[in-house]
């Protein structure tokens, strides 16, 4: 409701100026047994400041979902560190992770909201649960749920429905609301708009844009530079498990340095496609496969 100015601290209160909300250093992740170890991430380092939106772009197999899972403690890193809101979580055990998640510092939204919403719980229960677990009194939780439902532009009439009774776009807005009720410092979104149609995509992007002014940091992961560019302060390009480029969206799009980034920018469908791009892409593909 009350949009705070970016320089003010977030409503959660604890924001210490420019201290990053997420600080990843030299992250390596391997999959598979010792014999057939496959490297999914190598030497990934990045920071996200309070209220900043970082876009992470990568294609199938680039390691982008592994990065999300590593930051959320769902896969174990083989090297490097992850610091969330000043806490080094690299060596956290299951119990410590549960504690961190319960405090709601970091939240996540996946492509398919059915995965993050319990199909047997009404929308209201799903939204109120994280608050009740944290000991927020019932009345206050109910009031906050209503506030967040209106923020994601959903009607209160939907509160007593089940996820299965909602459209895909409504469900994704519920998933965003659920990530927000706990007033996290950081939200990881993995392909949050890929499955949505235009109208719903625009609506979700608009909601995410508004969050920035509340001081919530976002990591927005997508295969599509086009869906991230408009709301990301900075864009990081992940290619074959390595971050090959980080910069402002404008810089990455207008002055891409890595060959893959150049191909990515040239490949993104835009309303201003130039026929000359075809020859350029052909040359970049040859370079990349050489």
């Amino acid at each position: 409701m009350t949009a705070e100015l970016p320089q003010e601290e977030g409503s959660a209160g604890a924001a210490p100026g420019r201290e990053p909300v997420l600080d990843v250093t030299g992250l390596d992740v391997h999959y598979g047994s010792r014999r057939r170890r496959r490297r999914a991430l190598h030497g990934v380092s990045l920071t996200v400041a309070p209220g900043e939106t970082l876009g992470i772009i990568g294609e199938t197999g680039s390691g982008k979902s592994t990065l999300a899972r590593a930051v959320l403690g769902l896969v174990r890193a083989s090297a490097g560190s992850v610091v969330i809101d000043g806490e080094d979580v690299s060596a956290y055990d299951q119990r410590q992770w549960r504690g961190l998640r319960r405090r709601g510092v970091v939240q996540y939204v996946f492509q398919d909201p059915l995965r993050s919403l319990d199909p047997d719980l009404t929308i209201e229960t799903s939204l109120a649960e994280p608050l009740l677990i944290r000991g927020v009194p019932f009345d206050e939780a109910a009031a906050r749920v209503r506030a967040f439902v209106s923020r994601v532009r959903l009607s209160e009439d939907l509160l007593d429905r089940l996820p299965g009774e909602l459209s895909g776009g409504q469900r994704q807005r519920v998933a965003v609301a659920r990530a927000l009720v706990a007033e996290p410092r950081l939200v990881i979104l993995d392909e949050p708009v890929s499955a949505l149609d235009s109208a719903n995509r625009v609506q979700i992007l608009r909601i995410l844009e508004e969050l920035r002014s509340d001081g919530v940091a976002l990591v927005f992961i997508s295969h599509d530079l086009g869906s991230v560019a408009g709301i990301a302060d900075r864009v990081a390009v992940l290619y074959r498990g390595e971050l090959v480029e980080v910069g402002t969206a404008a810089d990455v799009i207008n002055r891409p340095r890595h060959t893959y980034t150049r191909l990515l920018v040239s490949s993104a469908p835009t309303l201003r496609a130039a026929p000359a791009d075809r020859a350029e892409r052909e040359a970049l593909r040859a370079l990349l496969h050489a």
Partner: protein, 299 residues
């Protein structure tokens, strides 16, 4: 609108032999106020679609799922699902109303005159047969070539769709190939008999952006080399803008906008088209791109 040919081409020549030079004037496919209904409940789901495809022309259809774009394509391909029926208007392929076509004539038309690729290539391939053999089979049946010649032609086709190491790919099974490679195999099979019309229905939707661009570039290339006409169907206006001369924007079974791509992009009339464009301008790459990249200025 281009005038429609009233000459009926005799059925025997419908197959359009490989040597026949396509007349750039005569429509290869024309839809006139096509209406499609679900006979189960009598509901009309496509409320009048019209466009004309001449050789080498590319028409794009943009719309969300449920807009009627796929069902319109299926009608043009003669593969409407059970209890869907064309209940108004007409569809002509090379001047012949498809309502008059017997199943045998349809079989002759598929592949040779009109062909298609869809979003999920894997489901159109047999998982237990190497992909090359599946392309060769199309060549054998449609072009009546012997086994050896069909095999050589299939390898050529795999090469033509820019598959690296086509000889190797020939012997591979569908599960060994990526989504982009499978879609290329499907395109190879679809163009094996030199069709005059290729319908690409969300053919790049499931692919990574760089792979999508490769497939779109390939389609543009095929159109230039062979004069094949294309119908490109997508939920993304930008995908259609890459390739098409003319765009139809569909919503809930209705064509809300229809015009040359440049006009639709620069002066959209319907609010839905305006929404699609605004999304790109506000949240897409367009926000950062130099206006001089505009194709109009560059051309």
């Amino acid at each position: 609108m281009a005038t429609l040919s009233t000459n009926r081409v005799p059925g025997e020549t419908l197959g359009h032999g490989p040597g026949a030079p396509p007349d750039p004037r005569s429509p290869v496919l024309s839809l006139r106020d096509v209406r499609i209904s679900d006979q189960a409940d009598g509901r009309e789901i496509v409320h009048g679609v019209s466009f004309t495809l001449t050789p080498g022309k590319v028409v794009g259809i943009v719309g969300e799922s449920g807009s009627g774009k796929t069902i319109t394509c299926r009608a043009a391909l003669g593969i409407l699902p059970a209890h869907f029926e064309v209940t108004g208007g007409s569809i002509e392929i090379h001047g012949t109303d498809i309502a008059e076509l017997s199943p045998a004539r349809w079989t002759a038309l598929h592949g040779l005159t009109i062909s298609a690729v869809f979003q999920d290539p894997a489901s159109y391939l047999n998982p237990s047969i190497p992909v090359g053999a599946q392309v060769a089979e199309v060549v054998r049946v449609k072009k009546r070539l012997g086994r050896g010649a069909a095999r050589r032609r299939a390898v050529e086709l795999l090469r033509a769709v820019h598959l690296r190491e086509a000889d190797l790919v020939y012997g591979q099974y569908p599960h060994e190939l990526s989504g982009g490679m499978l879609q290329r195999v499907l395109i190879a099979a679809a163009i094996a008999a030199d069709p005059r019309i290729l319908i690409a229905d969300e053919a790049t939707t499931a692919l990574d952006v760089t792979v999508q661009a490769e497939i779109l570039d390939l389609l543009a290339d095929l159109r230039e080399r062979t004069g094949m006409a294309l119908v490109v169907v997508s939920h993304d206006l930008a995908v259609v803008a890459q390739l098409c001369d003319e765009v139809l924007v569909m919503r809930q079974g209705e064509v809300v906008e229809h015009g040359p791509t440049g006009r639709v992009l620069h002066a959209p009339r319907h609010e839905y088209t305006q929404l699609l464009i605004a999304e790109h301008e506000r949240y897409g790459l367009e926000k950062f791109l130099d206006p001089k990249l505009d194709p109009k200025e560059e051309a």
